[in-house]
């Protein structure tokens, strides 16, 4: 699942992921709220949950960190099936530290998304599901 308010980045990144062939399906959300409503709608269907969320930091209304606040309230079972990697072009130290310090964030990837970096995260965390 990609969460990004920027439609162009959403397009670029889903294309990159598509070409990388690491994932079968890509869910695009233009806001954190949209992602949350996806979770609410599919709350009974565990197989509809994404294995990985690529989460932008700066977004209007609910930003990436606020999304994580809701994410951490999800049941443990969901969270282990569906992990979070942050994806941002930020150079702000505060954001970088905050992202790295967050226990629910596997890694902070920098934009532009480099396929090899995504593949490295994939290998490190999805050996069984792959």
């Amino acid at each position: 699942m990609l969460i990004d308010d920027n439609i162009i980045d959403l397009k670029i990144n889903s294309k990159i992921i598509q070409i990388s062939k690491l994932f079968d399906e890509i869910i695009q959300c233009q806001s954190a709220e949209e992602a949350i409503s996806y979770f609410t709608i599919h709350s009974k269907e565990l197989d509809k949950l994404p294995n990985l969320i690529l989460l932008d930091i700066q977004m209007p209304e609910m930003d990436g960190f606020e999304f994580l606040d809701s994410y951490k309230l999800l049941p443990d079972e969901w969270r282990t099936r569906c992990q979070v990697v942050m994806l941002s072009s930020t150079l702000d130290f505060g954001d970088i530290r905050k992202a790295e310090a967050n226990p629910y964030v596997l890694k902070l990837l920098k934009k532009p998304l480099i396929p090899t970096e995504l593949a490295a995260v994939f290998r490190a965390n999805f050996t069984i599901t792959a």
């Binding site: 162009i8 980045d9 670029i12 070409i19 072009s89 150079l91 934009k111 532009p112 998304l113 480099i114």
Partner: protein, 359 residues
């Protein structure tokens, strides 16, 4: 310019003194009186007094004790202590603990007291003015920080999207489909990104906050090499890092300094050189870290050596921005570091830096 009269609070247990004070000064000041510390406190609770005069010798609470008791709750009013007898220990106590502006003996001389109140009021104004200025500065600084933050995001995000598109073009095998246009777009975008990053480094460095973190040089250098060597896989790095002692320093600035120097060492190699080598030696002792970074690259012309640390200095055939070494120098200035450089053309360059250990 008319200003409202100075508000003076006078605390004394002797009614006569209060009356005499009022009689002498009521034309110049707005006077409030109290016959005990407790009464004085009530006045302070109700209005903003600028100068407080207190008698030392009062039953229950002395003048100094009163001043001490309000030093946290009412730090602003300027204090004058009055005392009828010269008591050295009270005087010492007053100076050491009471934050007293003036010490005046009783019976007071009207002119002396008048001047003291006037000076005390000036001191009060200066204090308040300074605080307002600091507040203003903090606000400006805050705005600047937000501005920098928004540059780092708003300006860079679309650029990073462009670089992302170029990456996609490469992945789809279209990179050479339009002559060299994609290559040109990529090189311009990278250059712009580089400028944005350097500008941010410069502004962040300008902020005076310096942090104290525990620095592991081995880890830091490995990360930096990892970050910059992806552009050029054939450079050989010889690391010799000797860190028997902990090093406390500014993590951001060290990263900026080493990052710029190491990326330069990688960037300014000779195209013809087969064995591109960068030697990095770091020795940490209790007082400092001695770092040298040597490459066998292009070298720097003797007449350029003095100018390389100046802003926007570039040479004709150099692909730099003229910011990297300038930022290195600025960052070193902030953490009291030193840098020296030796170079011979076509042989290579050595940068030596010394950074104090804040351990």
């Amino acid at each position: 310019m008319t200003r409202s009269p100075v508000k003076v609070l006078y605390i004394d247990d002797e009614e006569n003194n209060l009356l005499a004070f009022k009689a002498s000064f009521r034309r110049q000041y707005e006077i409030y009186t109290a016959n005990s510390a407790a009464e004085g406190l009530k006045v302070l609770e109700n209005l903003q007094v600028e100068v407080i005069i207190a008698d030392q010798k009062m039953p229950l609470t002395t003048g100094v004790e009163f001043f001490k008791s309000i030093s946290d709750t009412y730090p602003d009013p300027v204090r004058i202590l009055l005392t009828g007898y010269t008591d050295i220990s009270a005087l010492a106590d007053a100076i050491n603990h009471g934050d007293i502006y003036r010490y005046i003996t009783k019976p007071w001389n009207d002119l002396e007291l008048h001047n003291s109140i006037k000076n005390a009021h000036d001191a009060y104004r200066a204090k308040i003015d300074l605080r307002n200025k600091v507040k203003e500065l903090e606000k400006t600084n805050d705005e600047l920080n937000r501005f920098i933050y928004s540059i780092s995001h708003e300006l860079r995000a679309p650029l990073v999207s462009v670089i992302g598109i170029v990456n996609l073009v490469k992945m789809e095998g279209l990179y050479h489909s339009s002559g060299e246009y994609w290559e040109l777009i990529e090189s311009c975008s990278n250059k712009l990104d580089y400028y944005i990053q350097k500008t941010l480094q410069y502004y962040k460095n300008n902020k005076n906050l310096s942090d104290r973190s525990d620095i592991n040089f081995k880890k830091l250098v490995d990360e930096i090499i990892d970050l910059y060597s992806y552009t050029d896989r054939d450079t050989q790095f010889n690391l010799n890092i000797n860190q028997p002692h902990p090093f406390i320093g500014d993590a951001f600035r060290l990263e900026v300094i080493l990052g710029n120097l190491i990326s330069n060492a990688i960037k300014y190699q000779k195209d013809t050189e087969v064995h591109k080598i960068v030697d990095i030696n770091i020795d940490v002792n209790l007082y400092s870290a001695e770092i040298s970074i040597t490459d066998n690259g292009l070298g720097i012309l003797n007449e350029h050596l003095e100018k390389i640390f100046t802003q926007f200095f570039k040479t004709k055939n150099n692909k730099g921005s003229g910011l990297g070494l300038f930022i290195v120098k600025e960052a070193l200035n902030k953490i009291n570091g030193k840098i020296s450089v030796k170079s011979s053309l076509n042989q290579g360059t050595t940068f030596k830096i010394t950074i104090p250990n804040a351990n």
